[in-house]
């Protein structure tokens, strides 16, 4: 994405003024006694919500509480893929709005988030897989999303180093091609939202852990933190992997299990991979960053945990799968690996909005697909907080769907082994 006009002017001005220190992206504040809205979790979701609350609804008396540093959790640990080619109409509509916001985000935040819409391929290795891709393409097209089924000759043109022969154990039969999908600089998204929320008056409190939530007669009245108490009538739980540890403070049980998801990155190579390549059957997704490193992820770990330690089992598994797709990478070395934690709901769809406790809202269940939803999740929740009504776009994701037996089975989610 090209830098904006404002950025060029700023850049030019900075070039003639070498003594000027770089501006702070956000400030530190003393904890106020009271805020209109308290957002727990300083990741992309929480910060986006703070930004849209201020920008679209004029609500600026907002605190974002982060127990560590901004973007320390899933926002800085995901593989930065953005797409909207899901399987359920509810999911496609929702993520498509997110892609649209991402397309405008550099301009909107006046900060280059390096969104590169390079195209996204989901490979199918079995007849069943091809049928699923065909179904996804149909649903996507009905919802107005650019997405279609392509065959090995076109796959080879888009991605020449991919082995599309019939030699591998699971030969590539077809792919779902989604041109608007791509990758983004995830840290820039977090910093951009934090900066613009700060400029508009929201307080970002890092190293501030929530230790308790006060509820009186079924209504939220305040939050206790490691830095003191805050009075507030509205609390949003946007803590992703740690969501259950917050809701347990108000005695709400959620349909979530926290499971680590690992990823790794190779040494930098010359640019050779234009598209994002995903294989559900082989549990792998791979893209090449602007620096030339290959970012790779696999499926979630085999058991639940809050530990963010990496494992050799993961590295061995992903190396084998990547080599099946790209045999030419056999001498490439891994630079580093890491893990993030994902709170998995039973239907792979988020859980957003109201809870039985008045003023306690949730933005959880983000499993392996939370980062790509940050802008639209923040925007719709800001609308929900401002208007006290659930926007239509997120109504299918309400918490009460579980007892109403109205789940949103999103089998188009990544890394969940189906």
């Amino acid at each position: 994405m090209l830098p904006t006009k404002q950025m060029s002017v700023q850049l030019l001005r900075q070039a003639f003024n070498s003594s000027q220190p770089p501006p702070r992206m956000w400030r530190s504040h003393e904890l106020k006694e009271r805020y209109d809205v308290v957002i727990i979790g300083g990741g992309a979701h929480g910060l986006a919500c703070a930004y849209y609350l201020a920008k679209e609804h004029g609500i600026t008396d907002v605190a974002v509480l982060e127990k560590s540093y901004i973007g320390a959790g899933g926002s800085g640990r995901n593989t930065a893929i953005v797409r909207s080619n899901y399987l359920t109409p509810e999911g496609v509509r929702f993520y498509n709005e997110s892609v649209k916001l991402y397309e405008q985000l550099s301009d909107d935040l006046n900060f280059n988030v390096m969104f590169s819409q390079r195209g996204h391929l989901t490979l199918a290795h079995t007849d069943g897989g091809v049928n699923t891709m065909r179904r996804r393409a149909e649903v996507n097209q009905i919802e107005g999303v650019d997405s279609r089924l392509i065959w090995p000759d076109e796959i080879k043109r888009l991605c020449p180093y991919l082995d599309v022969s019939d030699h591998p154990r699971y030969p590539i039969l077809a792919a779902l091609y989604h041109p608007p999908g791509g990758i983004i600089r995830h840290d820039a998204v977090v910093w951009g939202y934090a900066h613009q929320a700060d400029v508009r008056g929201a307080h970002i409190h890092q190293n501030t852990e929530v230790t308790g939530i006060k509820v009186k007669k079924g209504k939220v009245t305040g939050v206790e933190t490691t830095r003191g108490r805050i009075k507030t009538g509205t609390v949003l739980n946007a803590t992703a992997g740690w969501a259950s540890t917050i809701t347990t403070m108000v005695d709400i049980k959620l349909p979530l299990t926290t499971i680590p998801l690992q990823a790794c990155v190779t040494e930098p190579l010359k640019p050779f991979l234009d598209v994002v390549v995903v294989s559900g059957s082989l549990h792998v997704y791979i893209s090449q960053t602007d620096r030339g490193e290959l970012v790779m992820g696999a499926s979630v770990d085999p058991f639940s945990s809050y530990s963010m330690a990496g494992s050799l089992t993961f590295l061995e598994g992903i190396a084998g799968h990547v080599l099946e797709l790209f045999p030419a990478l056999s001498n490439v070395r891994i630079l580093r690996q890491w893990a993030g934690i994902c709170e998995m709901p039973p239907d792979y769809s988020p859980i957003m909005g109201f809870t039985p406790i008045n003023g306690f809202l949730i933005d959880v269940g983000w499993g392996t697909y939370g980062f790509k939803a940050s802008p639209i999740a923040g925007k719709t929740l800001a609308e929900l907080i401002a208007t006290d009504k659930t926007p239509d776009l997120i109504a299918p994701f309400r918490l009460s769907r579980f007892e109403e037996n109205d789940l949103v089975g999103e089998k188009g989610a990544a890394s969940v082994g189906h």
């Binding site: 639940s304 089992t313 007892e403």
Partner: protein
Amino acid sequence: MLLLTCPNCGDRNVSEFRFGGELSSRPKDPSALSSAEWANYLYMRNNVMDAQTEWWHHNAGCGLWFLAERHTRTNEVIKTYPYAKRNA
């Protein structure tokens, strides 16, 4: 976590086992449950960041389903035991 102790087979590589989720109690009278109670049993989880009692299956070994107490932040296994000895 690399090893898990099967009550029958002793210390084995964790890759031989399948994780079965946190231990929950079955409803006593399923026909009397409301929708909310069913949802609670089917979907809702404590998901603690603490010691957790959970199911494991030694699927590449003796086939036993047994219980483990494991800390979910450190993955330290405190103990493993057969379901029949859960209150011992």
